[in-house]
Structures are given as structure tokens and as C-alpha cells.
Symmetry: C2
Subunit: 208 residues, 2 copies
DNA sequence: TGCCAATGTTAACACTGTTAACTTGGAGCA
DNA sequence: TGCTCCAAGTTAACAGTGTTAACATTGGCA
């Protein structure tokens, strides 16, 4: 069906693009279906031929966000274990800082409840798996401890997600203000926070 | 001014309580000034004698949330350094998991932009300082590395915040499903993720 | 060529936050 | 005691939202 005066022909994509532009500038709260419809020269209910509701439109934005995050993580050089792990961490945080409003939408929780949009959960897994594979690779290479993979992945993910969220909300300095922060934090997790003097004393709790 | 049919007398507090109840059950997006006014038997514009706007009401909820979080962190036993650190981490995550919608509001970022509500930023600092003091104490005791305090605090905060957010949004199992997860993650940060064999080889990067 | 399903339209409903203009009535003062 | 003032309520209204129902257009296919 070609584009005519009546049949727009590209409504779905244009609505997506317009919503993404508003999201980037003003956050998901500023996304209004009526405003988007007006901007692309169409009536508001026309959007409902392409999106079930407002939340579905937001979910689609988040899905493309996870795809972009996945690509950014996949582009990290996986040659040396340590460089790969730090690289993944830096790439993750860099993504969040370059797209703060999109990242907030992806992990908002309140706007997009988990389970309501299967394709969204799947897209999230796609990004998560890159992180998990890198850690598994580090274990196979003998570089990382042979602790349970789920535990190590949860730790790494918590760290980079927490750092991302805190920096984009201004609670911690971002990469512009403190370029070394993300790398310092990642290194600290790898090396451990305990002073070397105490290492052998305290190991009884987690190296059975 | 006593409470009569006309002059309510307790509107501010009742609106706060009612909003908190809605927040707990349905999240901040479900908080409607008109609905709250109706529930406490008052007209909607009456709320504007006590709150500048909807956002100010939400900010007040978040402020009391930070005060509660601070109390929960202060109640952790600070005797032994390691137990104090793990205790703080567990208490932090436990708070988030017991008040997921309140925690999301406190760290939402999109709803309450940093800088817009000075009392809110101050309340956040009040909770943050407890965490920082515990870490500084761990360093003074010689238990933690003498790395920059800001770096260690940022790492610890990122970890517990990320874990909180990911568990309450269902991306990671919460304390009911996996009671050991939070402690395992905290321990992993303390001990480090690198296998012992590699420790002395890689230390050249962060112990100058 | 004629029909039909996809994709638009307008009108309307039930909400929302917020402001303006008006009213009430308790507190403090002459 | 009586009067005035002001904090704290009221109703009416504006501009906006997501969403649905009912109707209109039109390109592609039998």
C-alpha cells in the first residue's frame, strides 16, 4: 500500500522516530501520543492501528535500545580476559551515559513492568548474555575465580547497572567529569577491596 | 486553628499518608492529586495550599524514604569491619526489596530531577554518608585497601544500588528466592573476582 | 469490476494537573 | 465584645491526556 494523502504509508516508523526524539530530549514522561500524531500529520487514534497503547510504543523504544546496547557490547575486543571484562564494563556505562533517557526507560521498571512485553524481556536477555559470555570466557581462561557463573554475572551486572544509574542521575560524577571512575570501579571488583594483609585470614568464608 | 467541617486541620499529613499508601500498592504513576483529595474528603485545589504541585508531594515521599533508609543503615552493628560492611550492604538491599515502589521513586531520576528539591538531595546525602562512614571506618581499621575513599564508596554504592534495582524489577532473584545472593555479591567485591593465581601478575595496574 | 480489509477520520468519554475567583471562619487586636 | 484579616477551604474552568466507538477512504485481490 503506497503513501497517499489518506494512507500515510510510513506511520509506524515515523511515530517510532518521533517518540525516540522526544524521549532523548525530555524523557519518557514527555511522550504524548496526541502530540506525536500531530507532529507527523495524522490523527491520534490512527496510532492505535500500529500500537496497542502508549505502553507498547514505549516498549518498542526500549527493545531497540536493548538491541543497540547489545551491539555496543559485542563490539568490545574479547582477546585478553582482563581487557575484555573492563572493556565490557566501560562500554555498558558509556551506553547509559550517551542515552540516559533511553536507558532509564529500559530499566525503569515502573513504566514497563517485567513480563508484560515478552519481546522486551527477550531483548534484555540478548544484551545480558553478552555480559555473561564474557565472564564465562574469563573463567574458562582461568583468569576469574571458578565461583558460580550466576553469582559472578549478577555481581558484574549490579555493578555496571548501579554505576550507570547513579551517574546519569547525577549522584556520581559521569565520564566527562571523572574519566577514570568507571575503570577504577571495575578494577576494584576484579582485585577485591580487602587489604592484602587480611586476604588469607578472611578467605575461610568463601573458598571452602 | 482547630478542625471543623470547613477547615480540615490535618490535610497535609493525611494527603502524605494516602499518597504513600497508593505509592506502595501501585507505584508513583498511580498517584493522582484529585483522587487523593476525594479520598480524604476535600476538594482538589485544597492540596495546593500544602504542596506546590504534584512533584513536591512526590518529593516529600522520597524524603521520608531516605530518612527511613538512613535509620535502617544506622541500625547495623558497626563492631567488626567485615560484618559491618556486609551488614550495610544487606540492610540497603533489604530496604529496597521491602519498599520497591518507594525505592524506585527515590532513585527514579525521571520523576524527581536532581537539584529541583534541595531537601531531597540533602536527605539522600544523609543516607549516603552512613555508607561512606562505614567504609572509612573499614579503612582506618586497616581492613580495607587505602584506595581513595570516593572510589571505594562509589563502588560499594553502585553495587548495592544496582543489585537493589535489578532485584526489585525482577531481573535478578530477590531475597526470598535466593537468600544468599546479596551476601555472595558483597563478599565477591571484598575478596575480588580474580583467581588467586593471577593476583600478583595483574597488580601492576592499580597498586602503583 | 467489485468487494473487503487495512488504515485512516471525527466525536466523545473520563480522566489528569493546575489556576482564578470567591467563601468561610478562627485568631488576634482595639 | 466586636472587627478585621488571612489561612485554608470552595466551585468553575482551562488545557491537556489516553482511549474507544462509529464512520470514511482506498489499495489490492478474486
Amino acid at each position: 500500500m503506497a503513501r497517499t494523502a489518506y494512507h500515510h504509508g510510513d506511520l509506524h516508523q515515523q511515530a517510532h522516530d518521533q517518540a525516540l526524539a522526544v524521549l532523548r530530549l525530555e524523557g519518557d514522561g514527555a511522550i504524548s501520543l496526541r502530540a506525536i500524531a500531530k507532529q507527523i500529520g495524522v490523527s491520534a487514534p490512527a496510532l492505535y492501528r500500529h500500537y496497542a497503547d502508549r505502553e507498547s510504543l514505549l516498549a518498542e523504544l526500549a527493545i531497540s535500545g536493548f538491541a543497540a546496547l547489545r551491539q555496543q557490547l559485542l563490539s568490545v575486543d574479547q582477546h585478553a580476559p582482563r581487557a575484555a571484562l573492563i572493556g565490557i564494563g566501560l562500554a555498558y556505562v558509556a551506553f547509559a551515559q550517551s542515552e540516559p533517557n533511553l536507558y532509564r526507560l529500559m530499566f525503569g521498571g515502573r513504566v514497563l513492568p517485567k513480563g508484560a512485553h515478552p519481546r522486551l524481556d527477550q531483548a534484555g536477555l540478548g544484551a545480558f548474555n553478552v555480559l555473561q559470555d564474557t565472564i564465562a570466557q574469563g573463567q574458562r581462561a582461568g583468569y576469574l575465580k571458578p565461583a558460580p557463573l550466576a553469582l559472578m554475572t549478577a555481581t558484574a551486572w549490579s555493578l555496571v547497572h548501579g554505576l550507570s544509574q547513579l551517574t546519569i542521575d547525577g549522584h556520581l560524577p559521569n565520564a566527562d567529569a571523572e574519566p577514570q571512575l568507571a575503570e577504577g570501579i571495575t578494577s576494584l571488583l576484579l582485585e577485591g577491596a580487602i587489604a592484602p594483609t587480611h586476604k588469607h585470614i578472611d578467605n575461610n568464608e568463601d573458598t571452602p
